[in-house]
Symmetry: C2
Subunit: 418 residues, 2 copies
């Protein structure tokens, strides 16, 4: 049996503990939703204020050069590259995940069409994040292709010679289950298909090595584990073997070989800049830079490997404490126990009241989230969470379940209108 | 002959003068580049800081609802609608101009293809802003269409039955010439074509009435005359007669009828929300809100009509003073003298040294910009500029031209490397 004292002892010897001070967190909150919106890096307050007052207010238009604004999609892309096993010059921070998926899906399908014109299938997972499926559905309708959805464990057998592109999210947003990127990419390639990886729920949370996996394209989110702030720019990576092969359809001026020549003819930039489109939101971009700084700070303490070790320890502890202390309350573990296939979140299913229980927890300051129809989802960010936080979160969960307070009118009302 | 005293007298009786205090402007700067990046609204400093520290830092994920983040593309879109002759629910603030152009171009061409399958031409202006042409070129290549470019005065005669879409920028970025939106839209419709208007250089600068012009689609920029900050989200308007007719290809979850049901099947939202895609950059969005507040503040002083009157007075004055005081220095007026076809900028061409002259002016604190190959471009934002500013800007221009200081090594060097 794990005790509160055990948790405090774990915190006392946690080498990553100093990283917590990089964030501003409300004292009354246990934040288990960094997988949806990462918390505020302390440095972002000053950095964003400086960008507003000095760079925009004083520098004005000159700051596009003098403050490095123009280079930010590439400089931040290079920073993100270090977190995902990519190299400098291969990644850009830009646009939204959905827009970036459209770009790489267009590229992957165009390359596939050229090489294997009869392969007309985009294969994905039935429980992939909806926006990925929506983008792919519309793309298929417009391009005479077909989106095939399979359960997670049936993906390999569906990888036949009809498949042009395998499009998967590395860590599932609803279950926290993590795919074996290397093995699935290998099987995709063996079938002749290209592999697109959505890293929204894994970049900054688990070690990723796109080159080792020999992936073809990747996209991901800036506002989850990268702590880039609400709606932070997303990112996009293309393997260098593909970068110059295709002109993606969102061919705005930032993707031009010489954007400031203002010529009327489109001439795509070489390399990853070709995947830019229009002008990027700089205030949100500098906040993302601060988010990336919090991950870089972890390098002194063992970097992504150390973060991963702590993430697994936190999720192991949460699972153990829920089973130890909330037994008999109808909670079912959805997230895999096996470390090799677990992301940095724990999801619990409950037939009744999942939404209301999450609301009751939030009212107590334990912020997780609900995912329809029956999932209580808890994200664990090792940069700022401690073991005692996990103890306290489970304590609140026990109390909510034991008291039945989630059955109250307030929560039912909110359940009804949301 | 206009004198400095005349200019001061004009400032003294300028009813819009108090609006200048809404902005933070460096005291040593005369800012004639608000058509490229609008200056900092004073209120944005506190507003962005509050969003960072309170909404993000304290509210965390809860702020998507409690701080209204989720609604911002629509609430800001409604605010922009009031500036462009559109109605609530017809406009969204989102993504970049280039991405939004791709959406509306896809919609317009799909509608045209359905109604007039033989019309395969997108007609635009040869000197349209390059990103619009780049997006259209790639779109045409992928969709079997043809981009035809005509000079401004030849557009009407090129509007034949081959034209599916007329795609124009209302005010030309290089010349400051303004199209007659109503007349060109009428001619487009008479030819059976749809009209897309890019309002980047006119929204917030000149009165626009999209409904009176019976336009079909419009897009525009948040960071120029809307003062939304570097890379602020752009906007997109669709006439209600078209809004539900087409599912645009960037069909991300924000365009879904019920995004938080997380269903795997795409079902587009009704109305303008269908033109959203992914999660938007909130820090940049709140700065845009502050920019829109500066335009709303003008309502007390006569609104867009009063701003237009002052804009024309400022550009008239600049033209007159340049001709009066810089004669013989090889400057040629590019911008039309006719008020009916002039935007809110004045462009001067000079065969030699245009880039270096602009650099010399910037070194003196007079910030305009250079547009290749030979244009000195000066934007006039009536919200903050005064008549004495115009006098002083021309005084500096005279001195730069008279002294030949732009011929110095420094400027030649910078010219060579940029």
């Amino acid at each position: 049996m794990t005790t509160l004292q055990d948790c405090r002892a774990l915190d006392a010897r946690d080498p990553l503990r100093p990283l917590r001070d990089l964030f501003v967190l409300p004292p009354e909150v246990i934040y288990l939703d960094g997988n949806s919106l990462g918390p505020l890096p302390r440095a972002a307050q000053e950095r964003v204020a400086r960008t507003v007052t000095e760079e925009w207010g004083h520098g004005l238009i000159r700051s596009w050069n003098s403050a490095g604004w123009y280079e930010m999609p590439r400089t931040l892309g290079d920073r993100i590259a270090t977190l995902i096993g990519a190299r400098a010059g291969e990644c850009v921070a830009t646009d939204s995940t959905s827009v970036n998926l459209f770009k790489v899906l267009s590229a992957a399908c165009a390359i596939a069409k050229h090489e294997r014109p009869d392969a007309k299938v985009i294969l994905s997972e039935r429980t992939n994040f909806p926006t990925d499926l929506y983008i792919a559905q519309t793309f298929c309708r417009e391009h005479g292709m077909r989106l095939v959805l399979a359960e997670s464990d049936a993906l390999s057998e569906r990888l036949d010679d009809q498949v042009a592109v395998l499009m998967l999210t590395h860590v599932n947003y609803r279950t926290g289950a993590m795919h074996d990127m290397r093995e699935l990419t290998r099987r995709a390639h063996r079938a002749g298909a290209l592999a697109i990886w959505d890293l929204c729920h894994s970049a900054g949370a688990v070690p990723i090595d796109l080159h080792a996996a020999d992936a073809d394209f990747a996209i991901g989110c800036g506002y989850k584990y990268l702590n880039g702030g609400p709606g932070a720019p997303a990112f996009l990576w293309v393997h260098p073997r593909h970068a110059d092969r295709f002109e993606q359809p969102l061919s705005g001026w930032w993707s031009h070989a010489a954007p400031f020549e203002f010529t009327s003819g489109y001439r795509p930039a070489q390399g990853i800049a070709r995947y830019l489109c229009g002008t990027q939101p700089i205030l949100s971009m500098v906040a993302l830079e601060c988010g990336l700084d919090t991950l870089r700070a972890a390098d002194r303490f063992g970097g992504m490997q150390a973060l991963r070790a702590k993430s697994l320890a936190l999720t192991d502890l949460f699972i153990a404490l829920v089973e130890q202390r909330c037994a008999g309350h109808g909670l079912a573990l959805v997230t895999p126990r096996d470390h090799a296939v677990r992301g940095s979140q724990v999801c619990l299913a409950r037939e009744e009241g999942a939404y209301a229980i999450v609301q009751a927890l939030i009212a107590r300051g334990v912020i997780g989230d609900f995912r329809a129809p029956d999932i209580l989802r808890f994200g664990f960010t090792p940069l700022h969470l401690g073991y005692e936080d996990v103890w306290n979160a489970v304590e609140h969960l026990c109390q909510v379940l034991g008291s039945g307070e989630w059955r109250g009118d307030e929560f039912n009302r909110r359940n009804a209108v949301t």
